[in-house]
Symmetry: C2
Subunit: 207 residues, 2 copies
């Protein structure tokens, strides 16, 4: 069975990746999603095991030391990470995985799995819109928002390490998700992933 | 204005590229199509300036020597080529081009324009289907068909020089064309083509 691919959907805070990935979940029900682990407390409405695995810092450190975290980052005082066990199980079933993670973690995955991971950076249409989105969330202090804005612009400078950049236009979540779906489909048609098919053909296996 | 990209749709004789590209013309009316030049005589129903520019060998050689042919190949005794003037004009208008060309020509374009050309190899589902398609056309002698079959298998061995490989399943032209449309859309989102957008953003041009 052909192994799945990891599609890393990432981008600075305020790029709207949560909403876009939610839409992708609806559009591609067969794709695997690896729920991240985090030490930050749930926001109103967030569900443990669905939005994140909400775990203690002690548990996170324990998993990290056991080599059970594929990528991780500390962000605004909280740990976020992808549990290796979750990702590997799904890939081995021949299913793709969509990972919604922060920029730092995306780069870790790309460097750890260069052949299997495709990284997409989502960005807001412009910095003003980015700020509006961060403030609109209404859950962070002004100090946190300023820190996030500064970091967001720094993170966009890391886009060169990504495979794709998609602008998440305001009010066009469906269009943005459809673009990412197109990227997922196209990546499966790249020569290196069709190599076995081509080689079998050229060797006349079906003649 | 952002320059267009060249999408080279290619593959061995019998892969069905003519039909698929015809479908793409319908699906993407704004995309540019560069009509190839050839010295072979028109088949029944083919129209000069639409299917090909049907020109004499003398004229073809003249254009070739003047550096006016972007890629060319001799195939079964006939010359085929892409007129430079046609392609350059369209790209400079900011429009993509779809080129339907033979395998040899596709490799010439890829080596001449590595940053601007994306090559897609279409293949029949299997060698038996390929032979059936070549015979079904009913316009070639048995000797020509055998020569083409042998060459087709050789050409599939060149797929490693392509960016994408798409299987053109029998009776699924629409699906095949939709896959190529997805590739075209995805390629425009690759980081190197979004670089100006990203750099402008990071430099705060819109702040």
């Amino acid at each position: 069975m052909e192994k799945g691919l990891i599609f890393v959907i990432s981008g600075p805070a305020g790029c709207g990746k949560g909403t876009v990935v939610g839409k992708l979940r609806e559009m591609m029900p067969n794709i695997g999603f690896s729920v991240s682990a985090t030490t930050r407390p749930p926001r109103p409405g967030e569900i443990d095991g669905v939005n994140y695995h909400f775990i203690t810092r002690g548990k996170f450190t324990e998993l990290l030391e056991a080599g059970e975290v594929l990528e991780h980052t500390e962000y605004c005082g909280n740990m976020y990470g992808t549990l290796k066990s979750e990702a590997v199980r799904t890939l081995n079933e021949g299913r793709d995985i969509i990972l919604e993670i922060e920029v730092e973690g995306a780069l870790q995955i790309k460097s750890m799995m260069p052949d299997d991971a495709v990284a997409v950076m989502l960005i807001a249409p412009d910095p003003e819109e980015l700020e509006r989105r961060l403030r609109g969330r209404g859950t962070e202090s002004d100090e946190v928002i300023k820190r996030r804005l500064k970091r967001s612009v720094e993170e966009i400078g890391l886009a060169e390490n990504y495979d794709y950049v998609v602008i998440n236009e305001t009010g066009k979540t469906d269009e943005c998700a459809a673009k990412i779906q197109g990227i997922i489909n196209a990546e499966h048609l790249r020569y290196q992933r069709m190599k076995d098919t081509v080689n079998g053909y050229a060797a006349g296996q079906k003649i």
